[in-house]
Symmetry: C2
DNA sequence: CGAATAGTGTCTATAAGACAATATGCC
DNA sequence: GGCATATTGTCTTATAGACACTATTCG
């Protein structure tokens, strides 16, 4: 509550707060998560998710905290950032109540400077998860985030946020393959994504030893078009 | 992060933490939200969402905090409880960084004892929101929760959680009408919900001055069946 | 030309929605 | 029987997916 009472009238909540980030990218068709060294000596595993605390001097919003942590590890800008869940309980930290707000970020796989601390680890596909061992409860946070991704990929334009600035329709198919472990046929990809409201034709082609592929770009502002819900025509 | 370091090595985050609940029910076809008096004298409006702080002695999990707050206002058990989002920033509370975890609860509209502080206010439908004025930033939290509800109602079994223990298919249609402001035809409701994996036929009927309607019950464990995504047959 | 991948045409499957027809209780 | 609502049958529409066919580039 935010009743603006003087500090003395209400006990402050004393939980430790952190912001954890599950940053995912697709590298050579493999889904990968960004990790950082686990700094606590007693940690069971030596890699962990990027995490940090709110810095009241730097952060105005929770999202800023997430972005700031991310920026410490990679200069790549996330193409998508979304809150996944907040975990809070008295068990996960021996000091008492601890609370973490988990964000999930998608990065386009384009060259960007990573910190030496950063390490990208494969996570397998949704069909066949092969999660790396992570310190603390980070493996389960990672799993929640991947589940969210795999759900939303099926009915949103999220696949496009894992691709570079320009991409072909086949690239989209590879996103499905790399994340879900399976992909709809090209016909379906076309029906869904080759749509003026979703992408724009750049007019350019990608050449190989075959018929050139049309390069598309994600349509500016469209955040989150949904497919396959109740029909609009419903009275 | 939860590195179990001694308190002195890392600054603790000092944000105020609260848990706010958007509890919704359907009363005579109207969607309503549970409110409590806004206790702060400077609040712009005199009703607010139920909210409270983590009590380390009573709560092991964030969800417990939410349930505990709810129980202070009504003895009805929520049929559904889900975290919506966590809002954190430095603006919403004049004392500094403040953070709130927002839950949304669905209640079956059955007789239950409410506290005298409790008041149920109409919120309109998703098509035509008529949100009550609430103190603090609670109106915007309410709006987010209703948006979540209106989305999920369209592709999950959530409508069933706003209904009493037994219900007819027409009742389900009324849930759509009361929440979305529009409803699919009975044929679609039937196709979707009259399914052995979703509900069970109680064998009983509801009688009126017309053909009696079959009474169904929500099938036990099924949490959250999804409709209308990628087809299972996808290779 | 042939290999390889891009893109199209067309049919089927699934599920939503429109609408008409039928069923069954109460009065 | 007549009213009112429940339930079913059937057709249409929207979209996913299967699959075969055509197109275009490079070597």
């Amino acid at each position: 509550m935010r009743e603006n009472l003087p500090n003395t009238t209400l006990p402050l909540s004393t939980a430790l707060i952190s912001v954890d980030i599950v940053a995912l990218r697709l590298s050579n068709g493999r889904l990968q998560v960004l990790t950082t060294p686990a700094r606590h000596p007693k940690a069971q595993h030596d890699r962990a998710l990027p995490a940090g605390r709110i810095d009241p001097d730097k952060d105005e919003q929770l999202e800023h905290t997430a972005c700031r942590q991310l920026k410490l590890l990679t200069l790549a800008e996330p193409s998508w950032l979304e809150q996944v869940e907040t975990i809070g309980n008295s068990m996960r930290d021996s000091r008492g109540w601890s609370l973490t707000v988990v964000y999930f970020a998608l990065l386009r796989n384009e060259p960007a400077l990573d910190s030496p601390d950063a390490q990208w680890l494969d996570v397998g596909t949704c069909c066949k998860l092969q999660l790396p061992d992570l310190a603390y409860d980070h493996q389960s946070l990672l799993q929640s985030a991947i589940e969210r991704l795999c759900n939303k990929i099926q009915y949103t334009t999220l696949p496009l946020y894992l691709l570079p600035d320009t991409f072909t329709l086949s690239d989209i198919k590879e996103v499905f393959q790399g994340t879900l472990g399976k992909a709809p046929p090209m016909r379906s990809i076309r029906n869904r994504f080759a749509d003026e409201t979703v992408v724009t034709d750049t007019g350019e082609k990608r050449y190989g030893s075959n018929r050139p592929a049309t390069l598309y770009r994600l349509k500016g502002d469209n955040r989150h078009r949904l497919f396959n819900r109740l029909y609009e025509s419903t009275q």
